[in-house]
């Protein structure tokens, strides 16, 4: 008896499944549209002039105006901001990856009293937002003579990136067999030699992941540059975008062009790094 009920259910199944698939695609595609539309609005809006944008905010540009984009690309300030952003991201990523790797090495592979307390102290840092410390951080950076200096941003960024980076690297370093370390030691390799020549090369995937996370963190950082930088020559892209948007409040098309160009490096980066980013975020979070 139960078998007949079951076969009836199986007969109705294809139709039901078909409908469910249609509904699922419909929903997923509308969510995708909601993600894409604002970005598309910025890209296409940049090809309009302000008159077009107000008379026809949703249509395609007619004619296509390229001057907004070419003006930005011809300006020194955009390229300088791009360079500053790259420079700061490179410095903070290098520092956080190197320092975290050194610390994670002893956290993962050495036994010493107070190890877990120290480790907890670092992981607690996940709770300390830069916003809480920003006022004293400003005083500190000023007193160190790093105000209006890229290092004044790269150093705090690296410091606030330590907790997550150590958290991701530690289990990875732990999983590398002790026998390898013994073998290296028998071959006359010192501890630093093992760390540098064996452990780091073996940990390339984990290092790539934490580096990518650090790059995104630094690239999008707004509060630190906002507080620590004054002269225009040192601005990063996010500062440039906010400034541009207040400077040309009425010329929406120009702002959209600037924003689009500021967004492109991140999107290119994302297309290449998505897999690794996803892997990194999930390896840290699912366990912890």
């Amino acid at each position: 008896m139960s078998t007949t009920r079951r076969s009836q259910r199986l007969e109705a199944e294809p139709l039901r499944r078909g409908l469910a698939a249609v509904a699922r695609y419909g929903l997923l595609l509308s969510v995708a549209a909601i993600i894409i539309i604002p970005v598309g609005y910025a890209v296409i809006g940049g090809f309009k002039d302000s008159a077009q944008l107000t008379t026809d905010p949703i249509g395609l540009p007619n004619p296509w105006v390229t001057s907004n984009y070419t003006d930005v690309l011809a300006s020194d300030s955009f390229w300088r901001q791009l360079l500053n952003s790259v420079l700061i991201a490179a410095m903070s990523t290098f520092l956080v990856a190197l320092f975290s790797a050194l610390a994670a090495f002893v956290f993962a592979r050495r036994v010493f009293p107070g190890r877990e307390v120290l480790f907890t102290l670092f992981t607690l840092g996940l709770l300390f937002p830069a916003a809480v410390a920003i006022l004293p951080l400003f005083i500190l950076v000023r007193d160190l003579g790093l105000y209006d200096n890229p290092l004044g941003i790269a150093l705090p960024e690296a410091a606030f990136g330590l907790p997550l980076t150590i958290l991701v690297l530690r289990p990875f370093f732990h999983s590398i067999p002790t026998e390898l370390e013994d073998a290296a030691s028998i071959d006359g390799c010192g501890q630093f030699g093992f760390f540098w020549r064996v452990l780091l090369p073996l940990s390339r995937p984990a290092l790539a992941t934490v580096a990518l996370l650090a790059i995104v963190f630094s690239w999008n950082q707004f509060l630190l540059p906002l507080v620590m930088l004054s002269s225009e020559a040192n601005w990063t892209l996010p500062l440039g975008v906010t400034n541009y948007s207040t400077q040309f409040t009425t010329d929406t098309a120009r702002i959209l062009a600037y924003t689009t160009l500021a967004l492109i490096p991140a999107l290119i980066f994302y297309v290449f790094a998505e897999r690794q980013l996803v892997g990194g975020l999930t390896s840290g979070a699912v366990k912890g």
Partner: protein, 311 residues
């Protein structure tokens, strides 16, 4: 005998060497962390007891006056309530939404990878860019108004970001746009860690898909879900960038958060003592919530995590 002596000396040397290594390896990270994270937080606590403009010597001790002032300021209380509102909305709407999408993307079908790529993309789009584009899109004459008019629904348009009664909801939409993909990715990874056989076994036992989700998938997804909820709460309490760029805390303080309020007093009006008191309140709130959450909700997961790391 000489061999034993030698090996004793070697062990001792190795012990000293081990300590030196631990110190040397730990030193860079620890000093950076102490200098730029722990020290500033301690300094914030110290500054919060003074009336200070950031330049004059730190002499005007005012005790708890800054705290009393903040807690008595309706604007600050309003800012706290806005943070709480974002926490509640995120937990009630954003996370379930992310979970729903994660469940959908956890099955094999054409276009899955492309959809995942699109949904997660806002994670790399800077808060500043998100804020600027959305405020242009929502402003009068922007895409939102144009699109509504094109569908003959022009009367539905409202300058949401400029109206104190709707600004928080508009911000919540923008926040969700930026962050739901992040939570979806976390939850998706959690789902992929659940063995498929369990679902099949449930189906074999006659469970509908809905029942399988309710009684098999969700309980097993618990740890990931709790991490996602935790990150969402902490993120909402610290909210700054998006709000600052999109509304600056306005109109008339209707979208202030604790962090924008602190920034305003600290860097716009140069009352660093008062700003620090606000920062400390924010810090304590985040810490209490985090510790309580870990203590009562995540305890089992943490125990699991410690064995992973400590093992």
């Amino acid at each position: 005998m000489t061999a034993a002596l030698q090996s004793g000396a070697r062990t001792r040397r190795r012990a000293v060497g081990a300590w030196a290594t631990i110190g040397l390896f730990m030193l860079p990270a620890l000093s950076l962390y102490v200098l730029f994270v722990l020290l500033p937080i301690a300094q914030a606590v110290r500054f919060s007891f003074f009336k200070w403009n950031g330049l004059a010597p730190l002499t005007e001790f005012v005790g708890l006056a800054n705290y009393e002032r903040a807690l008595a300021d309706p604007v600050f209380i309003g800012a706290v309530s806005h943070n709480v509102l974002i926490v509640v909305l995120s937990l009630a709407l954003q996370i379930p939404f992310a979970l729903g999408l994660a469940l959908m993307l956890n099955r094999r079908f054409r276009g899955r990878a492309a959809l995942r790529l699109v949904f997660f993309a806002p994670y790399v789009i800077a808060e500043v860019i998100t804020g600027v584009v959305w405020s242009l899109l929502l402003q009068p004459g922007g895409l939102a108004e144009g699109a509504l008019e094109a569908f003959g629904l022009g009367s539905l348009y409202h300058p949401w970001l400029a109206d104190p009664s709707t600004v928080m909801l508009a911000l919540f939409v923008i926040i969700s746009w930026k962050y739901f993909g992040f939570h979806m990715i976390l939850l998706l990874a959690g789902l992929q860690g659940i063995p498929r056989e369990l679902d099949e076994a449930a189906a074999m036992d006659g469970a509908s898909r809905r029942q399988a989700i309710r009684y098999v998938t969700l309980p097993l997804l618990g740890p990931t879900l709790r991490v996602s909820v935790f990150l969402s709460i902490i993120g909402a309490l610290q909210l700054f960038d998006l709000v600052w760029v999109t509304t600056g805390g306005g109109p008339v303080n209707a979208s202030n958060t604790m962090a924008t309020y602190m920034f305003d007093w600290g860097f716009r009006r140069f009352q660093l003592g008062y700003g620090s008191a606000v920062a400390v309140i924010l810090f304590i709130l985040a810490l209490v919530v985090a510790l309580a959450y870990q203590r009562f909700v995540m305890r089992r997961d943490i125990e699991g995590a410690v064995t992973i790391y400590g093992g």
